[in-house]
């Protein structure tokens, strides 16, 4: 879809990716982005929203890609699924990656497809050896098809499996060691999951191997204050709350500065609101860089 000239124009972009925070790309922002060209690190797209042969999504992506770095976030490959990856779907994702040449491709430690049905949610996996073997096989297949390292995102979950025999961070560490993938550390997911399961989000961050983290996600969540068990819901439809900003600062200190995304999927505000959150993240990153003299380069 994209001409080679488009890709080469975007080739200088990775430096912006490491220096400045990015935001989610949503159709309601297309025209404003092209008219005003706001300054930011990158835009992140969901792969599955850009797999059509034509239409406005691919058209605007092509134009926006000419001016900005883009990262691609897969939401439908079902890496944690019990059934084999859908190779036809994987092929379409690989073509998109080829066309867009994203700075980062990421997916989730979750599943969504089973028995010829797509559940349109990121469903949890048990942390045991059988799941680890299966997840690693799928990541190997994904990385060899895309011919690049992928980042896998830690999930937000609402229950834990009885038969999980290791912690989420142990599972993720083994997964990374076996496949060579990186970690997309979603700070909001840590806040949500730790609240839902009574864990300590700071200890979660401390348990992550800094050198494996390739990107941070920041997002908002909601609280389902039901009388049986209050649960935080990873809704991506609210501003980022102070708990998540605090955790992010901790992650910047312990892990270091990384490309960071302001992730918003629902209840979309004016783009300027997301840019303001991105600027705030930039401020925290600058402070962390100064304090740590972190020399990490993507």
């Amino acid at each position: 879809m994209l001409s080679s000239s488009t890709s080469s124009q975007g080739a200088s972009a990775p430096s912006s990716l490491t220096q400045k925070t990015g935001v989610s790309l949503k159709p309601s922002y297309y025209n404003e982005i092209l008219n005003n060209r706001p300054e930011l690190g990158f835009f992140e797209i969901h792969a599955e929203n850009y797999l059509s042969q034509g239409g406005p999504a691919r058209h605007f992506l092509q134009h926006i890609r000419a001016h900005y770095a883009v990262t691609i976030h897969g939401v439908g490959l079902s890496i944690g699924g019990e059934t084999p990856l859908d190779t036809a779907h994987l092929k379409r994702v690989a073509q998109l990656v080829h066309d867009v040449q994203p700075a980062i491709f990421s997916e989730h430690l979750a599943w969504s497809t089973h028995d010829n049905a797509f559940m349109n949610d990121l469903l949890p996996v048990a942390y045991d050896q059988a799941t680890l073997n299966r997840v690693c096989e799928h990541i190997d297949q994904l990385q060899s098809t895309l011919k690049r390292q992928v980042l896998i995102e830690n999930p937000s979950t609402y229950f834990e499996f009885q038969h999980s025999d290791r912690s989420e961070t142990d599972f993720i560490r083994e997964m990374i060691k076996r496949t060579g993938c990186g970690l997309l550390l979603d700070i909001n997911n840590i806040e949500v999951s730790c609240f839902n399961h009574g864990g300590n989000p700071y200890e979660y961050i401390n348990a992550c191997s800094a050198e494996t983290v390739g990107q941070f996600h920041l997002a908002g969540h909601t609280l389902d204050n039901n009388p049986i068990v209050p649960l935080k819901i990873d809704s991506h439809d609210q501003p980022i709350c102070h708990n998540v900003w605090d955790l992010y600062q901790h992650a910047l200190t312990t892990i270091g500065d990384r490309p960071t995304l302001i992730e918003r999927d629902g209840n979309l505000p004016a783009l300027t609101e997301l840019l303001a959150e991105a600027q705030y993240a930039d401020t925290l990153r600058a402070i962390a860089r100064r304090e740590k003299r972190d020399e990490y380069v993507l």
Partner: protein, 249 residues
């Protein structure tokens, strides 16, 4: 295990709950319900995005209740969620509470067709000067063969679904109150610019366009009808950017 997870999602079967950590069955159910709720709400929202006119006709509450039954019976088969709903129109046709609105299924089918067209590859249409030159240079314009974009087709709709659709798209220029729903109409379905588009055409225009799509030369494509105006019809095809090639037979 994902089989029992899926059964719990769609059929309220509780067998899966034994896999969930929790102090009580209520807690397990509350935790699992987050996924059930996420999936149903997101898929119903998706259908509302794909079928906005259908939703407006029946109202949000009716639409969401109908969509919930559909989601339960027909979960998506693909991760490309914009493709969801290909058999929603067929489902509506058999959905008993919607039987009073005989046109609703056709309207939903029209909305799905237009979205599917939006997602297809764009075509390159002839520019005005290319069309003028082709006619100017032809020895006999009647022997010209006009090719239309491959996505173009004519639908003979038994109800005024095109009028309903266009009234919702352009509420300022078309009044829904003036539409006679029981009136049949011919629709030209095509892709213009980036989007699937629908135009209401007269019966002679529908015949003319069908002839062009069959590959007939201009002279043979013109219907034998006093109400047909060649100039007006060609102007519409040019305006809608549907002419992709003009050749001599």
């Amino acid at each position: 295990m994902n089989t029992s997870f899926k059964a719990a999602l769609f059929h309220q079967s509780n067998a899966f709950y034994e896999n969930i950590k929790g102090h009580s069955e209520d807690e397990k159910a509350a935790r699992f319900n987050v996924y059930r709720n996420n999936i149903f709400v997101s898929l119903i929202d998706t259908l509302a995005d794909i079928f906005p006119v259908t939703q407006t006709i029946v109202g949000e509450d009716f639409f969401r209740a109908m969509a919930r039954v559909y989601v339960q019976k027909h979960p998506p088969k693909s991760a490309i969620i914009s493709d969801y709903g290909d058999d929603f129109a067929a489902f509506i046709r058999d959905f008993e509470p919607a039987q009073g609105l005989a046109f609703l299924s056709d309207l939903a089918a029209l909305e799905f067709t237009l979205l599917a067209l939006t997602n297809t590859q764009e075509h390159t249409s002839l520019k005005g000067e290319q069309i003028s030159a082709a006619f100017h240079n032809a020895d006999d314009p009647a022997r010209l063969r006009l090719s239309l974009a491959s996505s173009t087709h004519i639908v003979a709709a038994p109800y005024a679904i095109g009028s309903i659709y266009l009234a919702h798209k352009n509420p300022d220029s078309i009044s829904l109150a003036n539409i006679q729903v029981e009136k049949s109409e011919y629709l030209l379905i095509s892709k213009s610019n980036l989007y699937g588009d629908c135009h209401i055409v007269s019966q002679p225009e529908a015949i003319f366009i069908r002839h062009l799509l069959q590959g007939k030369i201009l002279g043979e494509a013109i219907p034998d009808d006093d109400h047909f105006g060649l100039g007006v019809s060609l102007a519409k095809l040019i305006d809608w950017q549907l002419l992709t090639n003009i050749s001599n037979a």
